[in-house]
């Protein structure tokens, strides 16, 4: 096991990783920008190093500065958290070159995760269903019409240079595709500097269901069940849960096997997430492998009893898995609300500032992963995620009740947060029955439509 770990991140995930290291008896080094001197991760770590100015590109994304901090503190390993350098293959390689263990997948895994078309081909060859798509670019309308006829409408025209939900046009039928195709190409050129577009089958009213996987260096791969991440706004997840109210035991078993097959096909190592899109009829399609620990990992931890950060570290130190999903006897239900410093009544405008009053909830079945404390000044430079509130109970209904109680108890003033929105969702009868798609949140947000006309 390692004696010292540098955490190349900030916010709640840096705090989360430091705590796991403490449990493992590993000394910790926090790195921080000039805007984060008073951040909780800096206070909790055994050692700390300033790595540059407030702007992330000069601090949390500054590979040289982070490696220098690791050398100066004689750290043995570097945990990248999520975001920032977590999926940067060159950073993982640089760590290896300088003699630091990168806590995460191999540089090859990271390179492939970034090359979505190639990853889909490899996974499809392993027998995992993928969304029918042209993969390569489609240059001519006739070609687009022929392919769409083959896979069936509705289809999406997607910009090859796009991502994160940008550069997508949905075509319900041939007539619309005829009208949209050339416009989509022009738009792609303007937005991404590249007019290449491809066609993909559009899954209407989908659910987003992902499987947590763990893999050791010997090629043992297991899954730890699914996470339901369907409640999203503009492709950003808001509420996650495990298990999924949609999955039946046979479906879970099939998807779990497919998740392992996908991870095996790409020779995956360490913790990862295999994402699927599911249609209303329960047909599921592989989307991508996220090669990192994910924001929503705690819901899996609560139902399986496995500390995923400790597992990441243990696997990177060369240990074997030594158990499988069935051994864990998963139990109960976990929900997570991502609390953001945003105003849900004002189109989710961010809300930085000093936290003058902070009173977190507690009690049975409540977990709070956060870097907040009373008096903390929330910097304007970074992500608006300020807290992950997680509830757990033996049943889904129980977990919802606990979440509601915890949300009501939570005081974070005077900044605006998304807590009021989540309170409405917990009371929603469709949410209560687990009936929703990725469009669910829209009914709570009439103002989102106005923004689009802007």
């Amino acid at each position: 096991m390692f004696s010292k770990m540098l955490i190349a991140n900030r916010g709640e995930i840096a705090v989360r990783i430091i705590r796991a290291c403490k449990d493992l008896g590993i000394n910790t080094v926090a790195v921080y920008s000039e805007a984060d001197q008073n951040s909780l991760h800096v206070r909790l770590a055994d050692e700390r190093r300033c790595i540059g100015p407030a702007i992330s590109s000069k601090s949390y994304l500054n590979v040289m500065s982070i490696l220098d901090a690791a050398k100066a503190t004689k750290a043995e390993a570097i945990h990248p958290g999520y975001g920032y350098l977590a999926e940067n293959g060159e950073f993982a390689q640089a760590c290896a070159r300088e003699g630091f263990v990168f806590i995460g997948p191999t540089p090859e895994n990271l390179a492939l995760a970034g090359d979505k078309i190639n990853a889909k081909n490899i996974v499809e060859n392993a027998g995992v269903p993928v969304i029918p798509s042209s993969r390569g670019g489609i240059g001519k309308l006739e070609e687009a019409l022929r392919f769409s006829q083959e896979i069936g409408y509705p289809v999406m025209i997607k910009a090859s240079g796009g991502g994160g939900g940008r550069g997508i046009r949905i075509c319900a039928n041939e007539e619309i595709l005829r009208g949209e195709f050339s416009v989509a190409k022009m738009e792609a050129r303007a937005a991404f500097g590249n007019d290449e577009v491809y066609i993909e089958k559009c899954i209407t009213e989908p659910r987003h269901i992902e499987f947590q996987v763990l893999a050791d260096r010997r090629g043992n791969i297991i899954h730890l069940g699914e996470r339901e991440c369907t409640i999203q706004r503009r492709y950003q997840k808001l509420i996650e849960e495990s298990p999924s109210p949609r999955l039946t035991p046979p479906l879970r078993q099939t998807m779990g096997e497919m998740a392992i097959a996908a991870a095996r096909a790409v020779k995956y190592f360490n913790a990862g997430t295999v994402e699927f899109l599911m249609d209303q009829d329960g047909r599921f399609y592989f989307m991508e492998i996220n090669a990192r620990i994910q924001v929503e990992h705690p819901v899996t931890e609560l139902v399986t009893g496995v500390d995923l950060i400790k597992e990441q570290i243990r696997l990177s130190s060369g240990e074997s898995l030594g158990y499988c999903y069935e051994d864990l006897k998963p139990r109960g239900w976990a929900l997570e609300c991502r609390i953001n410093a945003e105003d849900p009544d004002k189109n989710f405008l961010p809300s930085p500032g000093i936290i003058k009053e902070y009173q977190p909830p507690g009690g049975f079945g409540v977990r709070v992963d956060t870097h907040l404390y009373q008096g903390y000044e929330l910097p304007m430079y970074y992500d608006s995620l300020i807290c992950k509130l997680i509830s757990y109970d033996l049943t889904r209904e129980g977990a919802i009740k606990i979440m509601k109680r915890a949300l009501e108890e939570f005081t974070i003033k005077p900044i605006k947060t998304t807590i009021p929105l989540y309170l409405k969702v917990m009371d929603d009868p469709f949410f209560g029955q687990g009936i929703f798609s990725t469009h669910f949140i829209e009914k709570f947000l009439p103002e989102d439509k106005e923004e689009r006309e802007d």
């Binding site: 702007i55 945003e342 989710f348 961010p350 930085p352 304007m380 970074y382 992500d383 802007d454």
Partner: protein, 89 residues
Amino acid sequence: MSNQSSATKRVEVRAPMSGIFYRKPAPDQPPYVEVGDMVGKKQVLALLETMKVFQKIKSPVSGKILEVVQENEVPVKDDDVLFVIDAQS
């Protein structure tokens, strides 16, 4: 200003919240506006990035840019003056 026939007045455009002020839509592109430019009401003058979210700073009036108060890519505070516009009615 007094020699113009139409009525004019100085209008300050302020930051709606703290954030990083961007005069350009992208690093390799020219600024949205320069001093002396005529702008229309609701025309985009700059971007403000707060907690990784970008919002457009739009002109509240039609008129001429008299002053660009802040440098490109600097942090600004809530209510800081960003532009001064000679409003024309």
